[in-house]
C-alpha cells in the first residue's frame, strides 16, 4: 500500500504534466485531457500501482469549466486515487474515453454524456442512457426547465 507521497513520486515520473492537489481527503492528481489516456494506461499496468478497479467516474460543472473525476482503487495494494481532468470548452466539451481499459467506464461515460453533454472520443457506443434525445443536459448549472424546476 503506497502512501500519498510515494504515489506522487510515481505519478510524476510516469506523466510529468500531472499536478497534485494538497490538503484533500484522498490523493488527487489533475492531468490535462491529452495525457489522460496515457496516465490511466500506465496506472493500470505499473506493478507498484496496479489500479485495476474503477470505482466511479463523474463530472462536475463549475460555471467556467467542467471537471471530470475518476476514482480508482487497486485490488491488490488497496490504495485509492482520484484523477481529475479539466475541460475548458463549454460549447463542445470533449475528452478521451477510457472504455477500452475499463469496461465499466463505458456506462459511466454514457451517463456523463447524457447528463452533462461531454463527448468522449473513441467511445464504442456513445448514446444517451436515461433521457430522451432532445432533452438537454440537466446536471449543468445553466439548465432551465420552466415546467419541472422552480427557481427561487
Amino acid at each position: 500500500m503506497l502512501n500519498r507521497d510515494e504515489l506522487k513520486e510515481i505519478i510524476i515520473s510516469l506523466v510529468p504534466e500531472a499536478e497534485f492537489a494538497e490538503g484533500t481527503q484522498l490523493p488527487e492528481v489533475i492531468v490535462p485531457v491529452a495525457k489522460l489516456l496515457e496516465l490511466a494506461e500506465k496506472l493500470k499496468t505499473n506493478p507498484k500501482t496496479l489500479f485495476d478497479y474503477m470505482i466511479n467516474h463523474t463530472a462536475v460543472d463549475f460555471n467556467t469549466h467542467f471537471m471530470t473525476v475518476y476514482h480508482f482503487e487497486s485490488t491488490t495494494h488497496k490504495h485509492l486515487l482520484v484523477v481529475k481532468s479539466k475541460i475548458e470548452d463549454r460549447e463542445n466539451p470533449e475528452t478521451e474515453s477510457l472504455a477500452a481499459l475499463y469496461p465499466t467506464c463505458e456506462f459511466f461515460e454514457r451517463e456523463v454524456f447524457d447528463l452533462f453533454g461531454i463527448r468522449y472520443k473513441n467511445h464504442p457506443n456513445l448514446k444517451r442512457l436515461f433521457l430522451e434525445d432532445d432533452y438537454g443536459h440537466p446536471l449543468r448549472k445553466d439548465f432551465r426547465d420552466e415546467v419541472n424546476m422552480i427557481e427561487r
Binding site: Y53, I55, T58, D61, P103, T104, N125, P138
Partner: protein, 375 residues
C-alpha cells in the same frame, strides 16, 4: 458491443429475432427493459435499456440541505435503505470531523445487518419464484415480516426508514429493541435451514444454477461488480472487512467467498451471508453501550469547501458517496456511485450464449434493484 450491431437492430429489417423482456414483466424486478436477440432459444446478445425510473436525485439534492438528502437516499436502493442513509451521514460526519457516540455506531451496525437480512430474504423469495418454486416466496416473506415489525416499532415505517441523520440517529430506540431482536435471532436460526432444504440441495435447482452465467474474477473487477455477486467470483471486496466503518471493526465475521463465479456460487454467498449477519447481530445486540443517540450538531449543517468521499457496503455491493461542497448548506454536487449500476451492465458478458430461461436465473442471482440504477 460495437456500433455495427447497433445499426443493424431496426425492428423488421434485420435478420435478428429480437424480443423485449420488460419494462412490464413479472421477473425483471422493477422497470427495466432487456432487448434480447435470440437464435432459437439461445441468447446472442442483450442490451439493457434503463432510465424508466430516472428521477434526477442527484440534481434534486443540489437544492436540499444535508438532513433532507437522507430522505431521498432511501429511495435509491429501497431494500438497503439504512445503508444508503448511513453512507451520506458518514460522509457528512467525516467532513465535519464529528465523532458520533459509540451507542450510535452499535445501533447503526445492528440496523445495517437487520436490513441486509431482510434484503437477502426478499432476494431468496423472489429468486425461487422466478425459477418456478413458487413456495419460496411465501417462506421468505413470512420470515421477513418479523424484521419489518421490529422496524415499524422502532421508527414507524417498514421499508424506508430515514432514521439516520448527520450526527447520529433521529431518536433513541425503544426499550424492547434488544428483546425483539433476540427473539428474532432465535426464530430465524431454526428457519434458515428450511431454506436450504427447500431449494439449495434440490437437483432441479442445481441444474438451473450450476455453471450458468459464469463470471471470472477479472470480469468482475473490470465491470466493477461488487457485493455478493463479485464475491461469488472470488473477489474479496467486502468493505465491512477492508474499510470498516461504524462498529464493524468490533465484530468477528468471515467474508463469504466462492470461486466458481456461476449462479450457484452467488446464491451460496448470499445464503452464507445470512448466517454471518445472524452471528454479527448476536455479538452486538447485548453490548449496546449507553449514551447519547446523537452528537451535538449545529442546527444548519454546512460542510467546509472541498470534496469528500465515503464508501459503504450495502446488501448489493459498494455504494460510494462523493460530495463537492462550496461551503453552503446544500451540496454543490453530490454523486452516488450505486452498486446496481455496475452490476447490471455485466449481464451481456455473462448471459450471452445461454438460454432465455438462464437469463432469468442470472438476473435473479445478480439481485438487481432498478431504482438504484436510474436514481
Amino acid at each position: 458491443m460495437t456500433e455495427e450491431i447497433i445499426k443493424d437492430v431496426i425492428i423488421g429489417e434485420s435478420e435478428d429475432y429480437i424480443i423485449n423482456i420488460g419494462p412490464q414483466h413479472p421477473s425483471t424486478h422493477g422497470v427495466l427493459r432487456f432487448e434480447v436477440c435470440l437464435q432459437g432459444e439461445t441468447v446472442k446478445y442483450i442490451i439493457p435499456h434503463v432510465g424508466y425510473i430516472h428521477r434526477g436525485i442527484e440534481k434534486m439534492c443540489e437544492s436540499l440541505t444535508y438532513p433532507q438528502i437522507i430522505h431521498l437516499t432511501d429511495r435509491m436502493d429501497y431494500l438497503s435503505a439504512h445503508m444508503n442513509n448511513e453512507a451520506v451521514c458518514l460522509c457528512v460526519e467525516n467532513a465535519l470531523q464529528v465523532e458520533v457516540p459509540e451507542r450510535v455506531k452499535y445501533i447503526r451496525t445492528i440496523l445495517d445487518e437487520l436490513n441486509r437480512l431482510a434484503s437477502h430474504q426478499l432476494w431468496w423469495a423472489a429468486f425461487g419464484m422466478d425459477l418456478g418454486a413458487l413456495t419460496t416466496f411465501f417462506y421468505g416473506l413470512r420470515d421477513r415480516e418479523m424484521i419489518l415489525d421490529i422496524f415499524e416499532e422502532s421508527f414507524g415505517s417498514r421499508l424506508l426508514h430515514s432514521f439516520n441523520t448527520p450526527g447520529g440517529l433521529m431518536h433513541d430506540v425503544h426499550p424492547n429493541f434488544q428483546k425483539k431482536i433476540k427473539e428474532f435471532i432465535k426464530y430465524f436460526r431454526k428457519k434458515l435451514p428450511e431454506y436450504d432444504q427447500l431449494l439449495t440441495g434440490n437437483v432441479i435447482f442445481k441444474q438451473r444454477a450450476v455453471g450458468i452465467g459464469p463470471m471470472s474474477k477479472e470480469t468482475a473487477i473490470a465491470y466493477g461488480v461488487t457485493g455478493p455477486s463479485g464475491r461469488g467470483s472470488g473477489w474479496a471486496c467486502d468493505l465491512r472487512k477492508h474499510a470498516p466503518y461504524s462498529a464493524y471493526d468490533k465484530v468477528q465475521f468471515t467474508e463469504c467467498l466462492e470461486t466458481e463465479g456461476d449462479t450457484y456460487a452467488r446464491y451460496k454467498v448470499r445464503m452464507r451471508e445470512m448466517w454471518e449477519s445472524l452471528s454479527i447481530l448476536e455479538q452486538l445486540v447485548d453490548n449496546i453501550p449507553e449514551g447519547d443517540y446523537t452528537a451535538k450538531m449545529k442546527p444548519i449543517i454546512k460542510l467546509p469547501a472541498g470534496e469528500f468521499f465515503q464508501r459503504v457496503e450495502t446488501a448489493r455491493g459498494e455504494l460510494a458517496v462523493y460530495i463537492v461542497s462550496d461551503g453552503n448548506k446544500t451540496p454543490y454536487r453530490i454523486r452516488f456511485r450505486t452498486p446496481n449500476f455496475s452490476n447490471l451492465f455485466v449481464i451481456n458478458t455473462i448471459a450471452s450464449n445461454f438460454k432465455i430461461a438462464d437469463l432469468v436465473a442470472v438476473s435473479g442471482s445478480l439481485d438487481l434493484v432498478i431504482p438504484d440504477i436510474d436514481r
